[in-house]
Symmetry: C2
């Protein structure tokens, strides 16, 4: 089963990267160095979990994947923006990401800040190019809400504020929810919006994505604790060094693993209405907590 | 005449800030320190030239100012975002802005980066909350295009790349067009979109805003050369110190003044179809090149 979803994700990533590349080529002229930093930050690496969720949730509610590509590209641009800015020296100060130099290490800080800004802006530009104005409005609203000061960006602010504070499970869960859960949920809901999903389906995906994001982030905390930099593709052991709020720091490794499993179980329960058509998402949910990179 | 438009702008800024304050209060909960940094960056200072252009262009094409407030707030959020990030140590490294400590000086670099990110995201969230989906789509498209890697952010990248290069008028004009002209033009066009303007009106505002932005930026270059920090509200003489591409560095102060005047003249010519109703914008155009702050 685990190999199945890994192969599925790999095949999807190849298809997605081709679409993303083509979408990035549209639009007006842009400075060559900035374009290179943007492309470096978003292309040719990454598991593409958020775009996969988006495209598959579109299909699950009866839409075609063709309709979902611009929104899938948009959510990956937002994710890439967040990685570029979070890695900056003033933030988490990371030299390594996805096994390569971080954007600011390769292009310098100024261009990294601008590349992040450009990716965030581009995500809304990609959505605005879609055909249906009502879909565009719903997608912009969903994405901006999940990204902004009440969402992912707010989560990063809380993450930084939580450094050097005593571990608190409540605080950790709030940070996870904002930093990871909101964008996972937005990915699922944006897919459903592209595919014309019902209000009930959108609410189910809010819960599914939120719980899946939680499982994903607990697994990330555990990986930071146990994996080497080679497997991780980023600097390992950073959380403890920065005295970050993490799940293991609050409840230990064993209880963290149990919490991740519980989050997967309750995420998967939300997929019941879709029957066997959602089996790949069930596999994905099981996979995020056992992945070793 | 000059006092007239200054009073008009002051009265408008007071009205606008009230609206902006109310719009910022909407939405979900957010971390207190991030919210404070965002509000510090966008409220209680600034001439509000871009929102003024937006609201007045809405009225000129027959719309009510009520319809324009969210878009006016959005464009000021984008402007504020650009100031916060441009002031960062890795970029223009400024300690003073609008007579106060820059955001990173007051809140630290990490929170300044996040506040800029939050302001940029918020601009699209504000637009998405508007009633008419087709207007939302057109506004997001206009704002993202003017802001992104082919617009203002691309201009900042070129500005940084141009430092320490020999002065080039062609390069300077391209940077001015992207860094300032695009957002001025977008302000006018977004106003026209809110007010239901025609394609001809939108094209006229593209030229008007672009030329006005050019005049504004040349005047800014001249001010940096001649004014003290007290009047300027920001560190003076920075352009020459950073060996920036500026108009005076390329053609001298006298020819720069002539170029600014020429840009005003050709901007004002675009207002002919509106007759006396656009007199305030004519005054504004004349004012931007003689302001002494």
């Amino acid at each position: 089963m685990r190999e199945g979803i890994q192969n599925t994700l790999r095949a999807f990533a190849a298809e997605f990267d081709g679409r993303l590349d083509a979408l990035l080529a549209c639009g007006g002229p842009r400075p060559a160095d900035l374009a290179e930093a943007v492309r470096y930050s978003v292309l040719a690496s990454g598991k593409r979990v958020r775009p996969y969720l988006l495209v598959r949730c579109c299909e699950l509610v009866g839409g075609t994947r063709e309709r979902a590509w611009p929104a899938a590209a948009a959510i990956e641009c937002v994710h890439a923006f967040s990685l570029v800015h979070d890695d900056l020296p003033a933030m988490d100060d990371d030299d390594l990401r996805r096994g390569r130099a971080t954007t600011h290490k390769k292009f310098g800080e100024a261009l990294a800040i601008l590349a992040g800004d450009a990716l965030l802006t581009l995500s809304f530009e990609l959505i605005a190019r879609m055909a249906d104005a009502r879909v565009v409005q719903a997608l912009v609203s969903e994405l901006a809400g999940a990204t902004g000061w009440s969402g992912m960006i707010g989560g990063q602010a809380q993450d930084l504020a939580g450094e050097n504070q005593p571990p608190s499970l409540e605080r950790t869960r709030a940070i996870h929810r904002l930093k990871t859960g909101r964008l996972f949920a937005a990915a699922c809901r944006m897919g459903a919006i592209c595919g014309g999903g019902t209000v009930d389906q959108l609410e189910g995906f809010l819960r599914f994505g939120g719980r899946l994001g939680e499982a994903f982030q607990i697994a990330d905390d555990l990986l930071d604790l146990t994996a080497g930099a080679e497997r991780l593709g980023k600097t390992a052991g950073k959380d403890a060094a920065a005295r970050k709020q993490t799940y293991p720091a609050c409840v230990g490794a064993a209880a963290s693993r149990a919490a991740a499993d519980a989050a997967v179980t309750s995420a998967v329960a939300e997929l019941a209405p879709f029957g066997p058509a959602a089996d790949d998402l069930r596999e994905l949910a099981a996979y995020v907590v056992v992945r070793d990179y």
